[in-house]
Symmetry: none
Subunit: 230 residues, 2 copies
DNA sequence: GTTCGTGTGTCAGGAATATAACATAATTAT
DNA sequence: ATAATTATGTTATATTCCTGACACACGAAC
């Protein structure tokens, strides 16, 4: 399951930018534009992490933060504060009131990602798990192992990255060019047809253990990974 | 179909950069190098969004913007202004003259994407939607799948694009020529009657699962997609 | 009934993909 | 270092599936 993040930010441009980037990174995102709405939305569905602006209409970020901490569901939910002021007082106060981390605007998106990951790893390690399973196929990024139907499968590095990429985006169709970008790398010059060959090799390797072919060919579009379940 | 964006920018390097990035993001891109060309190209094919430089040869961005607003087709088309000057006056003027948003150079590509998405979501939500449902028929552009009455339907690439086009404009009647333009592409020479054949194939594929025919034939005019609901 | 426009079956040609074979590069073992 | 092994990218060939065109049948409009 992809982590569900609640962004609480009243400035439209920033909210949109954050939404875009987090969605791209594979998170599920919801936006609240003030503290009150944040409380309502957090109650509706408990987020895995909250990104909260310090200054908010109706209910300040600090106050919203405090109230979230009083509820059982959101008591341990990681909260990152976004603040425009850089002074030390805010920092202390922010952390006192229950934020787990804070960032001073303007901040870099990669840094925000890094902190987000760090907090999620602490709070919900399973969400960032390196092991992904789809149907009877399992891929372990840490151990660089692939299992299909209980038995271990040996893949070359390229096929491994290919499968990994597919399994992180199940169901979605990727063109050969997209796969080259994502799996081979941006500035590598490789024939598009080469993708076919690796798809074939991946299929052959998986077929040894699993009956059905998890890779779907979409004529004139590319390939997609999917199990019967999806 | 993927959103069609018109980029109006005379600086070659920037235009190419934008083109590259937007295409990669899945947009269809056209480039105009001055205000006049922009007007011509926008008339030829109405863009879903326009990215316009403030400073342009022949016809300034502001003026081009004003003229686009006077035409019915582009009256509601979102326009994002790109300006090198950061002063407040420009900002006001730009928005006064009809731009929906503006960015000051240098801007970050992700932010531009974010704003683009935000404007498109407001103006043409269906363009960003991956899954469209009409009655008992569902089409998924990301996964390239079609379901009719719970069951999966297999379509060839052309039939898929045809159905996609219909479902994004439910109820509207398209002539064979319009369909050839939209589905086959502008510069393809194909017999108009071929559309009939593909309509037939699409109907046959859908009929397997759904009783009623969602495609209406409009004698001497063309075809339209509509479900009982509409 | 005649005319015009549309539905459908068929077919050849072509486009896209799968597969096998090979040469080369990279990695690992000795 | 050298040899052995494995992985990689390309090309050629086989195969599958799609496409566009045509002919004829059918049905609506007048």
């Amino acid at each position: 399951m992809q982590p569900y993040i609640l962004i609480v930010e009243d400035e439209d441009a920033l909210a949109t930018l954050l939404e875009y980037n987090f969605e791209k990174e594979g998170y599920e995102v919801a936006i609240a534009i003030d503290g009150e709405e944040a409380l309502v939305m957090a109650a509706e569905r408990t987020p895995d992490l909250i990104l909260m602006d310090w200054m908010l209409p109706k209910l300040s970020g600090v106050e919203a933060c405090r109230r979230l901490r009083r509820r059982k569901e959101t008591q341990a939910t990681p909260i990152i504060m976004l603040t425009a002021r850089a002074d030390e007082t805010d920092k202390i106060t922010g952390l006192d009131y229950g934020a787990d981390d804070y960032l001073v605007k303007p901040f870099s998106i990669p840094e925000l990602f890094a902190r987000t990951r760090a907090l999620l790893r602490r709070a919900k390690p399973s969400l960032l798990e390196d092991v992904i399973r789809q149907g009877s196929i399992e891929i372990d990024n840490k151990a660089f192992r692939v299992k299909a139907g209980e038995k271990e499968v040996h893949l070359g590095p390229t096929e491994f990255r290919l499968l990994d990429h597919f399994m992180r985006h199940p169901g979605r169709v990727f063109s050969r060019e997209q796969l080259l970008d994502a799996v081979w790398g941006r500035d590598v010059y490789v024939e598009a047809r080469t993708v076919d060959v690796h798809i074939g090799r991946l299929r052959k390797a998986l077929k040894k253990n699993v009956e059905i072919d998890p890779i779907r060919t979409v004529r004139s579009a590319g390939y997609a990974f999917e199990t019967a379940a999806s």
